[in-house]
Amino acid sequence: MARAVVTLPPQAKRGDIVEIKTLAAHPMETGFRRTQTGDLIPRDIIRRFTCTYSGTEVFRVELHPAIAANPLIAFTTVATESGTLTFQWVGDNGYAVTETASIRVE
């Protein structure tokens, strides 16, 4: 059910700055909206996104209800070595998604 998409170049030169785009399928319910009968819809958001490069954390984001549904996060990192990038989204109601991508550095 929980889906996430990550795009980054499959290979890069050592020291290059690569752009990474991530997209997670999530409604990001704010907790401020009401149903037609006036009941508050409980908050359900992604709280935290982390990117680790071969075990080292390189980028972390704290998300709040003001982030739009299906949060897009685009950032950059330095291609230091061939390895695996791990992307993790953690949120309310036990939401946890992990996505990995490998990069080849020459």
């Binding site: 690569v18 980028f59 984001v61 003001a66 950059t76 330095v78």
Partner: protein, 157 residues
């Protein structure tokens, strides 16, 4: 009975009202949110001084739909181990909560740039604050006009 002439005078006056852009949020609630923004600003800065510059906040000036607004922040920095951006915070003045997003990064990011999509409840000023590795804070702000609010709650139409 209103004559045609009186009606035209009133209609023209209401069209010319300068507060039209900010009329969506009722003043009481706006004050509460402004206080919440100041509290969030204090929490981010922790008593440190903040200067304008080095940060570039990009937002469209006119937003048709506040539910999904492209936002990007970039900071001028060499991003070396000795001199890099440690954190970027985005705050709003009229959303129900002032915090939008907080980013923690370091020299491994290569460039201090990130982009996302945000929700905006009203026409307002959005502020981006960058914390550098030497402990200094820099900010940039952008004024936006929102046509369709992201939140349909009390006080908003």
């Amino acid at each position: 009975m209103t004559t045609r002439r009186e009606f035209l005078v009133v209609a023209a006056a209401s069209l010319a009202a300068p507060a039209a852009v900010e009329a969506q949020l009722d003043p009481n609630q706006a004050a509460v949110r402004k206080a919440a923004f100041q509290a969030a600003l204090g929490r981010v800065l922790g008593g440190a001084e903040v200067r304008r510059g080095r940060v570039k906040l990009r937002l469209p000036p006119l937003i048709d739909n506040g539910n999904s607004v492209p936002l990007s922040v970039s900071v001028e920095s060499p991003m070396t181990a000795a001199d890099h951006v440690a954190a970027i915070h985005v705050l709003t003045q009229k959303n129900p909560l002032p915090d939008v997003v907080s980013v923690a990064l370091g020299p491994r990011a290569g460039r201090a740039v990130f982009s996302t999509r945000v929700r905006l409840a009203d026409s307002q000023t959005v502020t981006a604050i960058a914390q550098l590795s030497d402990g200094s804070f820099w900010l940039d702000s952008a004024d936006v006009v929102v046509t369709l609010s992201a939140c349909l709650e009390e006080g908003l139409i």
